[in-house]
């Protein structure tokens, strides 16, 4: 231990020497700091003041958004604005009061300006008023000597030419909230705006561009003496969407016939969305310049949810539009074939529990084509029961239901396709057979968005190609973003049977939407109606003859749905329409779908050319006959 004692002593001695060295070094730091902060303070304070006015940001122009033909959907328009640097004003209140004599500044606006001044550094310019007329700006400019700290500037405002028709899908821009702040220097530009919803939000970084910067030497009163360096900003990229703005407007007008509805129409082969609408809507131009609080409250309180993009975020039980999934699951698994028939007496028994068909007197003996055409519930109860929920769920997922579709607009709903595993995880319960039967007609747990239903219709129509909805056609000069879709691998013969059923729905007298068929030849459409229960009808109500939902209050009425495609041979478009609380798919949703489909077909050069061919052929035939 002696040995260690000796070492310990040596160690302590040397540690002491090191310690003295450290104290010396630390003292050097303290002295240096004191020197900088006490003796050189004045010099550095001047330098610091000089510094802080030397940086000016040049806003970048936001990328424009175009439709597939180059028509503008979101553009920038010039505006004039007044700014205020609080530090340069002796009395901010007084300056604002004098400014208010020249241009209208409400008490509310003034309050907002004062809040903004409190939140920012006194040397940062604050936006006082934007969207000034040229006259107003000239008035302010003329009086600048009496308005210390005020300056005017030419800026750009976002404008949406289609207004309400594209409010949901394009979205709008707004002032940056605290939570949205990033380290992008552009955020500190007064009046800077970022995308708040829709494409504007999803593609914000691409649209935003990069702010430029000017570094300049300035004197104490803030006047630029010379520019030291300048980095030019980069304007945002231009986006070209797959939308057809004319069709989008027509679509919005058509669905406005109902109090609350949404519709999606897309190219059945590529997935390009031609129109996607949600009604009621709002004016995004008002939103871009700042939403008045009372309007915002009103929109939030509206039971028809004008702020929600129902085509993408709305999740509804698909009802009978789901029956194609049940049919395909049955056909693909071999549980049924083209000849299988089920007898429908008006209800179907599982044990001692009765499941009712919508048609009380029953459909009699019916096959798969007839069951789709006439929407026979009993047939699909039986098929669902035979294939089981897991096979049913698998088919639905292959056709695009139950999962998000990576769509180019935020807020996409995932829908829900239940199976045994889902129920075990979600409720820790075994799956009941009765739930399979309900799911087979698209009720119970099953949920889908209109976007998913349109995708499903497209996959049926295109012969089983796994398309997904696409909204952005290209970014600036990059090439087209549309991929080649893989095949799902469904037997064409089985799809043909479904096509036959869907043809019958609209074009056969027994079909549930025969009244809404396209009568204008040679245009055509196939489809499937559906209605989704919002409120359960109890056995007691049924007995009391309360089966009709029409006398329920609006918000408890069934949703009306329609999915379809057209033209019937060689489909070009797939469509889905959901009318909230519209009662019956055939009467409420089908006419809207028909009008939208007809509008799309009439605009499509591919379809028109076949019309011309048909006409030519007819004339030729006539001439031949004459000869």
């Amino acid at each position: 231990m002696n040995r260690d004692m000796e070492r310990h002593k040596e160690f302590s001695r040397r540690a002491l020497m090191l310690g003295v060295g450290k104290i010396a070094l630390f003292s050097t730091l303290a002295v240096r700091l004191g020197y900088l902060q006490v003796f050189e303070r004045q010099k550095f304070t001047t330098l610091s003041d000089k510094n802080r006015i030397g940086l000016r940001l040049l806003p970048a122009q936001r990328g424009e958004i175009m439709d597939r033909f180059g028509a503008p959907l979101a553009v920038n328009k010039q505006d004039f604005r007044a700014l205020l640097v609080p530090e340069q004003s002796d009395d901010v209140e007084d300056t604002l009061a004098r400014l208010a004599k020249l241009i209208p500044i409400s008490a509310e606006e003034k309050e907002e300006i004062m809040v903004e001044i409190d939140q920012h550094h006194p040397y940062a310019p604050v936006l006082v008023k934007e969207d000034l007329t040229w006259q107003d700006m000239a008035k302010v400019d003329l009086n600048l000597p009496d308005l210390p700290g005020v300056s005017t500037e030419e800026g750009q405002m976002r404008s949406y030419p289609l207004s309400t028709a594209t409010a949901h899908i394009i979205g709008y821009v707004g002032r940056v909230s605290k939570a949205e702040m990033t380290d992008d220097p552009a955020m500190s530009i007064p009046g800077f705006r970022i995308g708040k919803s829709g494409v504007e939000k999803k593609y914000d970084e691409i649209l935003r561009g990069q702010a430029g910067e000017v570094q300049s030497e300035v004197n104490a009163s803030g006047r630029e003496i010379r520019e030291l360096s300048r980095t030019e900003g980069k304007h945002g990229h231009r986006l070209t969407l797959t939308l057809d703005s004319d069709l989008q407007m027509q679509c919005q007008t058509i669905i406005s016939q109902q109090p609350s509805a949404s519709a999606v129409i897309l190219d059945a082969h590529t997935g390009e969305v031609y129109a996607l609408c949600s009604h009621p809507s709002f004016d995004p131009n008002v939103f871009s310049s700042g939403i008045p609080a009372d309007l915002w409250e009103e929109l939030l309180a509206d039971p028809t949810n004008p702020l929600t993009n129902k085509a993408v975020a709305g999740q509804y039980p698909p009802g009978s539009t789901f029956k194609m999934m049940t049919a395909l699951a049955g056909l693909e698994s071999g549980a049924i074939d083209v000849n299988s028939r089920v007898y429908c007496p008006g209800s179907w028994m599982l044990g001692n529990k009765a499941f009712h068909c919508w048609k009380h007197q029953g459909h009699g003996s019916i096959d798969v084509v007839g069951a789709i055409r006439e929407s026979c519930d009993c047939f699909f109860y039986e098929v669902g029961h035979r294939v089981g929920i897991d096979a049913l769920a698998k088919m639905a997922r292959r056709m695009g239901l139950g999962e998000k579709l990576d769509f180019d607009v935020p807020g996409e709903g995932a829908g829900l396709i239940p199976d045994t595993e889902w129920k075990r995880k979600r409720y820790k319960q075994r799956w009941e057979q009765g739930e399979t039967v309900v799911a087979a007609i698209g009720q119970g747990y099953v949920l889908a968005t209109p976007l998913q239903l349109a995708t499903m219709a497209a996959r049926i129509a295109n012969g089983g190609k796994a398309v997904k909805p696409i909204l952005v056609r290209s970014i600036e000069d990059e090439g087209s973003k549309i991929p080649d879709w893989p095949m799902i691998g469904i037997n064409q013969a089985h799809l043909d049977l479904v096509h036959k059923g869907m043809f019958g729905v609209v074009n056969d007298q027994r079909g549930t939407a025969y009244a809404e068929r396209i009568k204008e030849l040679p245009f055509s459409m196939a489809g499937k109606t559906g209605s989704a229960q919002v409120k359960r009808i109890t056995e007691a109500q049924r007995a009391a003859g309360h089966a009709s939902a029409a006398d329920l209050p609006w918000k408890y009425r069934d949703h009306a749905l329609f999915v379809g495609y057209g033209p019937v041979d060689n489909p070009a478009y797939a469509i889905a329409v959901v009318v909230e609380h519209g009662l019956h798919g055939g009467s409420a949703a089908a006419p809207l779908a028909r009008d939208i489909m007809l509008a799309a077909l009439k605009r499509d050069p591919r379809v028109i050319s076949t019309v011309d061919d048909a006409e030519k052929k007819a004339t030729q035939d006539k001439l031949k006959d004459k000869n």
Partner: protein, 382 residues
């Protein structure tokens, strides 16, 4: 010696160890970290995102780690010294190779939840290895210059790999801390004289091997005003920020230099500048006082150790911490060239904070086990 509360016993229960932990030191460390959160909050600016919150979470994990390291027997750390040293070197080689493959300076490994910088790891493992080596040597051994070749090798291997990255700041830190350990172990004074003279003579050669940006930084350090908008920008702006802060500072969240982005890397290397601009000379002296208190505390803990391993390990950790603080502060004040050394516990960054806390864990472990006796090879004294 072995009286009361388990002091002097070879095997302590966890409860006894917890009682032996020096809680005042932990409080001092937490206070410094608190200054760090305030500064990161201000740098954000005025938000816990993206820095203050994640730094706070790391600090909490680091403190738990510190206590766990402190509770582990000092004899375990002695046995683990060489294996950990080897692991540190392997990690360094790994990033050197990866960096070479990706054609650039790569200094970290992505662990998913954080980015691990092996150069920070070897700072501590080299101290461990040296402490173990000198623990086993007698006073006569260390007076023999030839005997020192082996420990010198222990130092030069990690230094060389760190230089390859290239990370001049860390390489210098390893050398300085190692030199302090050689000094404390009892190496003769004249040897240091020779080495320092040799280093001065070798400087021109080192200059030749430096990267352009490193040369530039040294030149600008000599004369920062020569290039006020280019590379001298960092130093000039930092001095303006410090100087304009004055005695009382510009006030919390009011640092115009920092918030207008005149100050570069305000959340990492230049965070002391941001803090001082806002809190003034008074704030800066308080912070330096906290650092000094931590170092002084570490000193007494080291000196009260009854074994050479614990003493050297503790002092190595303390010197490492001191060098961090000194280089960073000297750098932002324009006393030292800008070499990219963070301010420990304050700068944003995971590995630096965790390696410093791990170091303090080892310091604490030698304190908790200060009376444990073991032989030159680290075995229990029967």
């Amino acid at each position: 010696m072995s009286t009361g509360r388990g002091v002097g016993q070879d095997h302590l229960s966890v409860f006894e160890k917890l009682q032996l932990i020096s809680w005042p030191l932990l409080i001092l460390i937490t206070l410094v970290a608190g200054v760090g959160f305030i500064s990161l909050y201000s740098a954000a600016p005025g938000s816990v995102h993206p820095w203050a919150l994640s730094q706070g979470v790391r600090f909490c994990f680091g403190m738990v780690g510190l206590i766990i390291v402190a509770l582990i027997d000092i004899r375990f750390w002695m046995k683990a010294a060489y294996p950990l040293y080897v692991i540190g070197i392997l990690l360094l080689i790994y990033v050197d190779i990866m960096g070479h493959l990706s054609l650039g300076a790569k200094r970290w490994i992505n662990l998913g939840f954080m980015e691990l910088q092996p150069s920070e790891v070897v700072k501590i493992t080299t101290v461990l290895a040296l402490a173990r080596f000198f623990h086993a040597s007698t006073s006569e051994d260390v007076r023999n210059p030839l005997y020192l070749l082996a420990p010198l090798f222990l130092v030069l291997v990690p230094t060389a790999f760190v230089l390859l990255q290239p990370d001049l700041g860390t390489a210098l830190m390893i050398l300085i801390v190692s030199a302090a350990l050689f000094f404390l172990a009892g190496v003769r004074y004249w040897i240091f004289g020779v080495v320092i003279a040799g280093a001065l003579a070798l400087m021109p050669i080192a200059w030749h091997f430096m990267h352009d940006y490193q040369k530039k930084r040294v030149l600008i350090f000599m004369d920062p005003e020569s290039d006020p908008l280019g590379a001298g920008y960092h130093i000039t702006q930092s001095k303006i920020a410090l100087g304009s802060g004055g005695v009382f500072g510009k006030g919390f969240l009011q640092g115009s230099q920092s918030h207008l982005n005149f100050l570069p890397e305000k959340q990492t290397d230049f965070i002391f500048t941001l803090f001082t601009e806002e809190w003034g000379l008074i704030g800066a002296l308080c912070l330096m006082g906290l650092f000094a208190a931590i170092i002084a505390y570490g000193y007494f803990m080291s000196l009260s150790c009854q074994n050479q391993f614990g003493r050297l390990l503790s002092m190595g950790v303390v010197v490492n911490f001191f060098v961090y603080v000194f280089i960073n502060m000297g750098m932002v004040m324009g006393l030292l060239p800008v070499v990219g050394v963070p301010l420990p516990m304050i700068s944003y960054g995971g590995t630096a904070m965790l390696s410093v806390l791990f170091g303090f864990g080892l310091l604490m472990s030698s304190h908790v086990h200060r009376d444990v006796k073991f032989t030159r090879r680290g075995l229990d004294m029967a």
